[in-house]
């Protein structure tokens, strides 16, 4: 998965990269994302949505290509099988076999939750905006277990379509994003995406398990763990079409 589609994942699971010389903050973020975008990827992951009185988990497959195409499809549990999301450039569609309809996600639904998780549709679809809609600066830099970790503060531009006052990313020198925190305009922490487990997979060091938590409701969270990942695979353009969203050919 290297697409803006799974932005949070992307940011967190940055592939290992050779140690860099001095870089500025924007470059650190851009490198991380660019590296992620690569040419293509295939991921199998499990998403656990936790609430105080229930919990459910979904296993999904995701394909990404270039920086603006991605497709996610649920394979488990059975009742959700076939539910999918397609992102192509700036548009997002969802498909549910139960109603047998492809629905284009309108702007009014972008702020709503994606598949019932703590991620919004916008988190999923517009992830790569992080590079150019913000002003980045390194606010802290420290050595942890021999790896340099940069704390990067990203402040959205005046006209950016971003509600946050600022975001703080902890990015390791090897491009693994350890934490992505969202602050409101009063400086209060609202939600946080944390990498709970970092490891090697598909030939790269990535965040294998990440959790999104809303600070006001710590007992509600969504966790995504990567089960399998392959990079730089050959994907046809026909994968990212509405007809493939509707009628899987894999």
């Amino acid at each position: 998965m290297k697409n803006r589609f799974l932005l949070p994942l992307i940011l967190f699971a940055l592939p290992l990269q050779a140690a860099q010389e001095e870089r500025d903050a924007t470059q650190i973020v851009r490198d991380a994302i660019d590296h992620w975008r690569g040419l293509s990827s295939y991921t199998e992951m499990t998403m656990v949505i936790h609430r105080p009185d229930w919990e459910r988990s979904m296993t999904m497959r995701a394909w990404t290509k270039g920086n603006d195409q991605s497709l996610v499809r649920v394979i488990e549990p059975k009742k959700d099988r076939g539910n999918g999301t397609l992102i192509d450039e700036n548009s997002m569609w969802t498909f549910s076999p139960k109603v047998n309809r492809v629905i284009k996600v309108p702007s009014s639904m972008m702020a709503q939750s994606w598949m019932g998780s703590d991620f919004s549709n916008k988190d999923i679809a517009r992830a790569d905006d992080i590079v150019d809609q913000y002003e980045h600066s390194i606010i802290h830099c420290e050595e942890v277990d021999g790896i340099t970790v940069y704390d990067i503060e990203s402040i959205p531009h005046e006209e950016a379509a971003v509600v946050w006052g600022r975001e703080v990313l902890k990015i390791r020198d090897d491009h693994v994003v350890l934490e992505h925190a969202f602050y409101d305009q009063d400086g209060g922490l609202v939600k946080k995406l944390e990498s709970l487990e970092v490891g090697e997979m598909g030939g790269r060091t990535i965040a294998k398990r990440q959790r999104m938590v809303k600070i006001e409701k710590p007992e509600e969270w969504t966790e995504i763990s990567v089960n399998d990942v392959e990079y730089e695979i050959d994907l046809k353009d026909s994968v990212f079409t509405l007809s493939n969203l509707r009628n899987p050919r894999d």
């Binding site: 700036n90 309108p106 009014s108 379509a161 509600v163 006052g165 409101d184 305009q185 609202v190």
Partner: protein, 410 residues
């Protein structure tokens, strides 16, 4: 006909022969008439206010849209004529006020909440006449021009979004290609409206900022015109229709908001029904009084008939009696109503029940509105119905057999 003055004089004297009964009847009529007019004025005032508020939110008495816009208010159904051309067509035409604006549904999001709103991209100078928002009664400031980059939202919305002046919010809508159009705006002001519902559902941004965000060049979705009075919009309507392309739809405010339009029509019927209902109650008293008056003077009537007065004159006399009674009662009632409404013109504070009123779309101060036409209508209805009600006792009186009547005991 020379009999008439005599009959009137006779009737007037009879009326005051039993002055206690007459005064009781008079007070019943006056109170009834007062109630008719006063209640009518109250409801009129309420509906007027609702319409005024409603029209001011619509806003605009005559509106021009793309024919599909009212059913599907999206930028795809916009008016494709640019602002410059519109200004050429309308600026010199002598309209009281006109404005073109971008009005589309949008979603506004803060860090914690997102809500559906109606986005109004306006030129504040042109909209001053239309706006339900007083530009001066704004916490912070109102938009300063069509190119203002800020956003003004309602107080109620601000508290729902947990945002405030100086913070940024994100507006999301769709461009003509159905792609997502979004942008961040800094809240520069919080407006106050009569009704919380307005504060929650409208947000204002500069027209040019809206056009840029929605990628629609210098086009807009709605052109509005103000007529002198919301009841008299036909001249403006004709003038506008003559000037716009036939591919656009020109509508009157009551066609855009059918609820308000219907309300206005229902009101006229309601006033009439109200007057009749009160009169029905009154008429029992009236008929009773007249019947009593007739019974009381059976012998007298018999004597008059015996002396040669025609039955028609007797009939006329009783009817004149009832008309005099009603006329005096109406005069007192009208005066009473006028005297009570006059000091209340400044508005009656009904904020105690404001919540319920808001559900109907009325605000919390009631301004009674006395229309001459309502007053005349009440008076005419009372006189006509009073005439009909007095026919029966009068007819009875005129049919007495003189001999029988004179000799009647009691």
């Amino acid at each position: 006909m020379r009999l008439l003055p005599v009959l009137v004089r006779l009737a007037w004297r009879y009326l005051w022969r039993n002055h206690r009964r007459t005064i009781i009847m008079l007070s019943a009529i006056s109170v009834g008439v007062w109630a008719m007019i006063f209640m009518t004025a109250l409801t009129r005032g309420m509906v007027d206010q609702m319409i005024k508020d409603g029209v001011s939110v619509l806003p605009g008495h005559v509106q021009v849209h793309h024919p599909l816009f009212l059913d599907d208010p999206s930028v795809s159904n916009r008016i494709t004529i640019g602002d410059a051309e519109l200004a050429r067509a309308f600026d010199t035409a002598g309209f009281k006020a006109w404005a073109s604006r971008v009005k589309v549904p949008a979603v506004i999001a803060s860090e914690r909440e997102s809500r559906g709103v109606t986005l109004l991209g306006i030129d504040p100078a042109a909209e001053r006449e239309f706006s339900f928002v007083s530009y001066d009664d704004v916490e912070g400031r109102f938009l300063e021009g069509a190119d203002d980059n800020g956003i003004v939202i309602g107080r109620e919305l601000a508290s729902k979004l947990e945002t405030e002046v100086g913070k940024r919010v994100v507006l999301m809508s769709q461009d003509p290609e159905n792609e997502i159009a979004d942008r961040g705006f800094r809240v520069v002001g919080l407006f106050k409206a009569n009704m919380p519902a307005f504060e929650e559902s409208y947000v204002f941004i500069g027209k040019q900022a809206a056009q840029k965000m929605l990628r629609i060049g210098d086009t807009t979705t709605e052109i509005v015109f103000l007529a002198d009075d919301y009841r008299n919009i036909e001249p403006t309507f004709k003038q506008v229709s003559a000037r716009v392309d036939s591919s656009l739809e020109v509508s009157r405010w009551y066609e855009v908001d059918t609820y308000l339009g219907t309300m206005l029509k229902v009101m006229d019927g309601f006033v009439l029904i109200w007057v009749i209902v009160i009169f029905l109650a009154l008429s029992f008293g009236l008929v009773n009084t007249l019947v009593m008056a007739v019974f009381e003077r059976v012998r007298e009537i018999g004597l008059m008939l015996a002396l040669g007065m025609k039955p028609a004159s007797i009939l006329g006399q009783i009817i004149i009696e009832s008309m005099l009674l009603l006329a005096v009662g109406l005069a007192i009632g009208d005066l009473l109503a006028w005297a009570t409404i006059q000091p209340l013109q400044g508005g009656i504070d009904i904020s105690a029940v404001a919540e319920g009123m808001e559900m109907m779309g009325a605000s919390s101060v009631l301004y009674p509105k006395l229309y001459l036409s309502d007053m005349i209508r009440a008076n005419v209805v009372v006189l006509i119905l009073g005439f009909l009600a007095s026919l029966s006792p009068a007819w009875r009186a005129s049919r007495y057999e003189p001999v029988e009547a004179i000799t009647k005991v009691g």
